[in-house]
Amino acid sequence: MATKKRILVVEDEEHLAEGLRINLELEGYEPVLAASAEEAWRLWQRSRADLILLDVMLPGMDGFEFCGLLREKGERVPILFLTARDRDEDRVRGLEEGGDDYLIKPFNLRELLARVKGLFRREDWVRSKPPVSLLRFGAREVDLLAFALRGPEGETRLKEKEAMILRLLAERAGEALDRETIIDRIWGYDAYPSTRTVDNFILGLRKLIEPDPAKPRYLLTVHGKGYRLLLEEAE
C-alpha cells in the first residue's frame, strides 16, 4: 500500500483546522495540525510534509513570512494559501513569497480538495523525469534536472518556476501555449492579475537563454495567443 501523503495544516482557527483535518482524513491524506507558524516550523523540522495548507493571519509570524522562510531554506513543498484576505496585493504577495495556489475563505470544500489534488498532480509532474532534460539554445544549455543554465558566462541556477515554464514549453515545443495554460500548469492560480507574472517570467528567461533578449530566437511571442519555444535539434 502506498504511504499516505502528509499535509501540514497551519491554521489558528480551531474549528476550521478541525474541519480540514476531518475532510483530509476522509480523502486518505495524513493531516498534521499547527496553530502557528512557529509550531509548523517545529513540526516541519521533525518530519517533512508533502503539501502545506497555510493561513495568512496567524499569531506571531504570519503565513507569508513562513512561506518566505521555507523558500529561503530551499524547501520546494507545494504551498496553498487559505485566507480571508482577498485583495489583489495579497494574492500577488502570496505568489511572490513562493506560494503555489491561493484560496479565499470562505471556500468551497470540493474546490479545496480539487486544488489539493491538482497541486499533487503538478508536484508529480515536477518530480517525474522530463522526457528531454537538456535544452540547447546556441552557446547556452539548460539542464532541467539540475535546474542549471550553462553558457559562456558560466553556470547559473534557475528558479524552480523558470525551469518548470521551460520544461512545459519544451514538452510541447513548437506549439503556442497561452498564458492561462501556463499559469494553470505551473501555479494553479485562477487569479487574473497573475497573467502578467507569466510575462515577467518570460522576460527573465529571455535574458538567460537568448543571445539578444530584444530579438528572441528561441522563446517567441505568438501575438494574441501566448508563447512558443523553438528547440535546436538535439545531437
Binding site: E13, G19, I22
Partner: protein, 370 residues
Amino acid sequence: MRSRRLLLWLYLVFLVTILAQAGWWLVYLRREGEHYLNYQIQRLQTDQLHAAYLLRSVPEFQADPEGALAPHFPDLVFKRTASGLDIQVDPRAEAAIRSEASRRRRMFLWEGGFFLTLLLAGASMVYVAYRREQAFRRSRELFLAGVTHEFKTPLASLSLYGETLERPELAEAQRAKILLHMGDDLRRLRQMVEQVLAVSRAESPTALRPVDLDPASLARQVLADLAPLFAREGALLTSELPAGEWVRADEPALATALRNLLLNAIHYSPPPARVTLSLNREGREGRWLRLAVRDEGPGIPRREQKRIFQSFYRVGEAGRRPAGIHGSGLGLYLVKRNLEAMGGRVELVSSPGAGATFSLLLPAARKEGD
C-alpha cells in the same frame, strides 16, 4: 497610494512656489521704496541746481530772487548771506520724504507679513484637514478589514462543516462534534453582528437616549443575562451593588459596555475566572459613579493599555493576534465610545500578573428626592 504621494508633492511644490513668490514680492517692494527715496532726494537736488542756474542766468530774477523763485520751488529755502543768495534744500521737505519712504516700507512689511501669515495658516489648515481625512480613511479601512475577517472566519468554518456533514462516510461522533462547533460559530457570528450594530449606534451620539437610571439594577440585569455563561465557564462572581445611586446614561449603551467588560474578564482569565463587580461614588462631593470590573487574569502590559481600546487591536495592522482568543475585536472600543458619548470615561488599572480593573466612570445624577 501613488496618487496620494503625487498630490502631496504637488502641494509642496505649490507651497514653495507661493513662498518664493511672496519673498520676491517683498524684496521687489523694498527695492521700489529705495528707488522712491532716491528719486525724491535727487529731485530736491535738481531743484536746487535749477534755481541757482535761473538766478545766475535770468537778470530779472536778481532784483527780487526770493519773491520770484520761492513760489516755483516750495521745497527750497533762500537765505541772504554776505556773498549773495544761498539756496538750500528745505530740511523739513527732506525729512518729510524720508518719513514717507519709511512709512511705505513699514506698510509693505506689515502687509507682506500679514498676507504671508494668512497664506501659511491657510496652507497648514488644508494640510491638517488632509492628514485628518487620511487618518480617518485609514482607520475606516482597518475597521472594515477587521469586520470582514471576523465575519469570514466563522462563516468559513460553518460552510466547511456544512459540506462535511453531507459526507456519508462521516462517523456519528464526528457529526456530533461538528454540530457543537457549528453552534459556537453561529453564536460568534451573532455576537459579531450585535457588536457591529452597537458600533454604528455608538458612532452617532444622537442615537443615544440618556435617562436617569439605577446602575445597580442595570448591573444585576446584565449579570442575570450572563449567568448561564458564568455557570458554564465555572466563573466565580462577587458583586457589591449598593442601591439608591443614580446615573444619567443610555441604558443599552451602558449595558453593552458592562457586558463587554464582564465577558473579557471571563475570557482572559485562566479558569475558573474570579470576577468582582463593584459600584462606588467618588470625586468631589461624590459627583462620579464608578462601576468597576476586576479580574485576576494575567493583566495587561503598560504599553498595550492604550491600544486595546482601538477597534480590532487584536487583529492589528500586521495581522497578528494572540492565540486562542475569539472576541469580536470591538468590545473595548465600544466600551470607550459608549462611555465617552455619555459624558463618562473608562479607566484601566493593571500590571502583568496582577489582574486588571476596568472602571466605567459616569456623572452621578441627583438621587431621587434630592
